[in-house]
């Protein structure tokens, strides 16, 4: 079953970007445009459950150079909900191992008349390099520890749905800030929409330099907890660490895991978020992850909505 949508058949005049590579370079208005569009898609498809005929005759290629299940599936499903065809391309190692540069790989895929390339890569800047070298639209699905723009957007959409407005809220990002692309995209997006952002975690993973960007730096979760409206619990990225930044997982959990005890000291209406996959018992205990304050599963649905919106906007801008 397919629905026609009157009010979202043309992309807004103000939207001109044919790529989405990061949130740092987006204006507040552009972020709001994506969030509003995502909201409308979500509504029109009854919570992203139904199809909408917005990108038929389009092809979306998922180019994943790094392991991913949920983001890749979310992009695929979003593309299909919009009526687009999808190509799945994944490669565990670097393209180099096959003697081909990633740009060669991308050009080959582009030659299949692809409209949008969704790229995930372990190296920061790879989506940007791709956008400079191929004609089709490029959406970053995460580039190493740099940015994960659709994750940032879906986190923000989730907060907006529950709180109406971001301005004045205090949002703490807890955990491995150094290696987290989710943290970076959240920081840019939240700051642009007027939230107060705290980055909290072990001092080896939370640089003081964030203060230069107007972000509060904290090492002690218990000190900041009573002030927080939202906690976004980030995964420890063991795979990106060369030396261990803290002595043991046990010690980390003691200092930073969000558990029932800590919930007692949090605001009554605190939102608990996690970009997933979560390490239960490390960043968050099961009672909290599955508790009434958790919006972790809302995030997954909003991921679909945001990705539908972004696919539609960048493809539309490119055609215009």
């Amino acid at each position: 079953m397919s629905f026609e949508l009157d009010e979202i058949d043309v992309i807004p005049e103000s939207w001109t970007r044919s790529h989405l590579l990061d949130l740092e370079s987006l204006s507040t208005e552009e972020i709001t445009t994506i969030l509003d569009t995502a909201g409308r898609f979500k509504e029109a498809t009854h919570g992203c459950k139904q199809k909408i005929d917005a990108l038929s005759d389009h092809t979306v290629a998922n180019l994943f150079f790094e392991n991913s299940t949920r983001t890749r599936n979310s992009f695929s499903l979003a593309a299909r909900r919009l009526g687009a065809d999808t190509i799945e391309f994944s490669s565990s190692g670097s393209s180099l191992s096959k003697g081909e540069t990633f740009i060669d790989t991308a050009k080959n895929i582009e030659a299949m008349n692809v409209d949008v390339v969704v790229v995930r890569h372990a190296t920061p800047g790879t989506p940007h390099l791709l956008a400079q070298n191929i004609e089709c639209s490029v959406i970053s699905a995460g580039d190493g520890p740099h940015e994960h723009p659709t994750q940032g957007l879906l986190d923000i959409l989730t907060i907006r749905e529950h709180r109406g407005n971001l301005a004045g809220l205090t949002v703490a990002l807890v955990g491995d800030i150094a290696h987290s692309r989710t943290a970076r995209s959240n920081i840019w997006g939240l700051r642009k929409l007027g939230a107060h952002v705290i980055v909290c975690g072990p001092s080896t993973l939370v640089s003081r330099r964030w203060e230069e960007l107007g972000v509060e730096v904290a090492y002690n979760l218990d000190d900041i907890l009573p002030r927080c409206d939202v906690l976004n619990l980030l995964r420890i990225q063991f795979e990106r660490q060369y030396t261990r930044p803290f002595p043991s997982v046990r010690e980390y959990a003691l200092l930073y895991a969000m558990n029932g005890d800590r919930m007692q000291r949090a605001k009554d209406d605190i939102l608990i978020m996690a970009p997933g996959p979560i390490n239960r018992g490390v960043e968050v205990t099961p009672d909290v992850a599955d508790g009434p304050h958790s919006v972790i599963l809302d995030q997954v649905t909003n991921g679909l909505a945001v990705r539908m919106a972004v696919l539609w906007l960048v493809a539309g801008a490119r055609e215009r």
């Binding site: 180099l96 940015e147 330099r209 960007l213």
Partner: protein, 430 residues
């Protein structure tokens, strides 16, 4: 035996700047039999006359840090293309570092480079051979035999001499040959997987950093070992403000150390990496404004003796990769002089005399070469510089096989106009 006499060459009306003699005046320069013969001479009928009005007549420029890549990496550069690039950049003598495959750690290796350079018939090429066998940082190479073959100094190129005992031995051993040890200071444990200068921008971009302390810690160690051994230490690729300060203090104490900086490290900051351009990936990395200012101050007060291009050509297919896969390095021979003019002389940081000192007599002294001056009787290696010519860096500007440069599209001022090696015109702009 026929004695072929080279024609006399008269370089007329140029501004002769020879830092070795503290000479700076407009005069004619006569070259005869491959040597500097006289100043102020007037032309006679048979002379080749080169007009240098409004140009600088400098001792041939010397670059003591060049990768020629041959043997082993001919896709990046060959001795023929690299030396042609050197000439076009105004360099009459270069010293090549041994990060070749195989590395230059045998007499045969040294002789191969010399032989290829003779065939190319471009600029003079001097060989810096490996400090350690196979550049593995464990055992000294056969330094005495390499000296015998013509090696003029020792370095493991971009691989820092990690083991302090090996460096101490090398410095001690080279005392008896009076040869320098050139080391690239970097504590590798602190730069693991590093891509760019560690600072605010590396944090924002999520790129692993190369912190200044990695350079500073080895600089400190090396200075202490040079002091203890009395060996001749040359620090390559200085880029950090703290390292400049440590070298300054060591020189005050009388330590026999010299140091170099590369044009990109006094002209570009880490902001260049904003676009994720792999041509800006270089080690040591492009640092911040504070480090640039410290390097300029180091050049001004003589703490940094030498400007070296650190020419590291890399084939486009290697640079056209993800930023972590792309190799470090900048093809630099053909932009070095213009960057010195545009970034140091024109803004008034250095005058011609002190800038050319770092490109002529100082590198000659580091390498122990009787070159880098226009004294009467010296080899007639001469670079005539057009200081006003404005040009834009494009791929076709390069004679180097690789054009991995962060300056593509940049407008620069100044270039080598005519280059003479041993009294022969080897390069002239068309």
């Amino acid at each position: 035996m026929n004695i072929v006499t080279k024609p006399r060459i008269l370089i007329q009306n140029g501004r002769l700047v020879d830092p070795a003699q503290k000479l700076d005046r407009v005069t004619n320069l006569l070259i005869e039999d491959g040597k500097i013969a006289a100043y102020g001479a007037t032309p006679n009928g048979q002379d080749v006359v080169l007009d240098a009005t409004d140009k600088i007549v400098s001792p041939g420029l010397i670059d003591l840090h060049v990768e020629l890549r041959e043997p082993g990496w001919e896709e990046d550069e060959t001795i023929a293309t690299g030396t042609a690039a050197a000439l076009a950049g105004g360099f009459t003598s270069i010293a090549c570092i041994p990060n070749t495959d195989p590395p230059i750690d045998t007499q045969a290796g040294v002789e191969f480079v010399q032989h290829q350079a003779e065939r190319a018939r471009t600029c003079n090429v001097y060989v810096l051979a490996c400090v350690s066998k196979n550049r593995n940082g464990e055992e000294l190479s056969e330094i005495g035999m390499l000296v015998e073959a013509g090696a003029i100094g020792f370095t493991d190129a971009e691989l820092p001499i990690h083991n302090p005992e090996l460096l101490r031995r090398a410095l001690q051993y080279c005392v008896m040959f009076d040869k320098p040890i050139l080391n690239h200071p970097e504590v590798l444990e602190l730069t693991h997987d590093g891509i760019m200068h560690e600072g605010l921008l590396s944090m924002i971009l999520g790129l692993n950093g190369l912190p200044t302390e990695a350079e500073d810690m080895m600089t400190a160690r090396d200075l202490r070992l040079a002091e203890a051994t009395g060996g001749r230490l040359h620090l390559m690729n200085i880029s950090s403000a703290e390292s400049v300060e440590m070298i300054r203090r060591a020189k005050t104490r009388g330590v026999t150390v010299t140091a170099e900086v590369s044009p990109h490290n006094f002209s570009l900051t880490d902001e260049s990496l904003r676009s994720f351009n792999s041509n800006c990936k270089v080690n040591p990395p492009l640092r911040d404004q504070r480090c640039i200012e410290a390097c300029v101050a180091g050049l001004q007060d003589g703490t940094l003796d030498v400007i070296a291009s650190s020419h590291a050509p890399r084939a486009p297919e290697k640079k056209m990769q993800e930023l972590d896969q792309a190799p470090f390095g900048i093809s630099a021979l053909e932009t070095a002089l213009a960057l010195v003019i545009s970034e140091l002389i024109e803004p008034g940081h250095l005058d011609w005399n002190s800038a050319l000192e770092k490109l002529t007599i100082n590198p000659a002294r580091v390498l122990g070469l009787a070159k880098g001056t226009l004294e009467i009787g010296a080899d007639a290696d001469v670079t005539v510089i057009d200081p006003h010519h404005q040009w834009t860096v494009t791929r076709s500007s390069f004679r180097s096989k690789s054009c991995n440069t962060p300056y593509l599209g940049r407008s620069l001022r100044g270039r080598a106009d005519t280059v003479l090696v041993g009294g022969e015109v080897r390069f002239q702009v068309s």
